[in-house]
Symmetry: C2
Subunit: 215 residues, 2 copies
Amino acid sequence: MSKAEATRERILDAALEEFSTFGVAGARVDRIARKAGCNKNLIYIYFESKEKLFTTVLRRHLADVDLQMPFMPDDLPGFAGKVYDFATAHPEILRLLAWSTLEQSAQLPATREESFRDMAAAVADGQREGRVDPGFAPEFLVTTLMAIATAWSPALPFGTSTRHPAPEVLRDNVVRAITLLVRPHVDGAANDADQSFAVTGSGPEPETPGAGERL
Amino acid sequence: MSKAEATRERILDAALEEFSTFGVAGARVDRIARKAGCNKNLIYIYFESKEKLFTTVLRRHLADVDLQMPFMPDDLPGFAGKVYDFATAHPEILRLLAWSTLEQSAQLPATREESFRDMAAAVADGQREGRVDPGFAPEFLVTTLMAIATAWSPALPFGTSTRHPAPEVLRDNVVRAITLLVRPHVDGAANDADQSFAVTGSGPEPETPGAGERL
DNA sequence: AGCAACTAACTAACCAGTTAGCAAAACAGT
DNA sequence: ACTGTTTTGCTAACTGGTTAGTTAGTTGCT
């Protein structure tokens, strides 16, 4: 690795720390340079601007995510467990993702939307083949899985609550919750809302977002 | 309402919009003043600083939340539905909450931790009385409920994915997911994850929610 | 007059991005 | 091997626009 490449890496590492702590608006380029032990100008030589640097950092680490967590269509609970492990092991990356969601900076929709659609399609397959309960919309199950598996990240609004069960307990609960949600259940009596699934195909979009208006 | 009070209100409204869009670091005091149609200095007269203004806005709206969504211990699915409705109707407040989680600004732990503990305690009661399935830790159920019910807010990392089912479907799915998670299931046969439940309790733990035990 | 509500203009610090140039290594010609 | 030149990697110091926060003063109502 050339000296320049090594410096580039140090900048990316320092930037990850800075951005995940302060977001784009709160991040300071001088601070990144200091953490990386290099001159500020190098940041502008290697990465054009603060925003581009953020995008680069985010891209790199989201690519990591896809590699470390290949989607497992026929073991959704197992996948949820892996997502939980990842979120627990890498809170910085969850924070990075959270920042990029709030600040609308960094448009990298292509890959993420794609993988979301892939997952939903795989779940829909599972439903047709009877491996996955058809009582929920595929997109609902995918989003719910991710939401539950990452809910305990300090990056998310409800992950911060003081006292939580031990990590092993949490992980076990996450896996079992997904098991419960996706496993086909016999009933029919218990599940009164199968018609909702028929509605799933985005019909006439209602003007008012609040569907349940019975406050 | 005095003229001064009216101005104060306009500032708070403008500040909600600004902070929920840009966060604290990204917010501009001049922009808030312009939106409120008042002089910037008034902001410093009525609220000391940008940070204090943010805290004030957050406090006010979180207080609203508690009023609008009283916790319903014996109808958790119904409560989840209300939370979903609220999150759908008030994305700005979800964003505000998300910002305040990421930026560690604004410490208002007292009320939120309190209500979290209250909810968990109520769930634990429900488990003891057999109304709620004892298979999950109470804290797990509370956090999961909130995570699922708010997962489709654009403020959260996985709420942004392109195609979602229609709002009514989503709401119905949310309510039914919580129903599935909290309803006592007769199982034994239905739930092959019972051994994981044994692991969960970190010891011989027959009836009491072993899951919730260890912190 | 006196007070409450408000304003215009200012200040000092900050911060993304730039300029101009240094030092050493690689390279070429002789 | 020696010298001049170019390239690579880097740095110190600067710039100009922006921004939180301040000061000193105005307006209008009682």
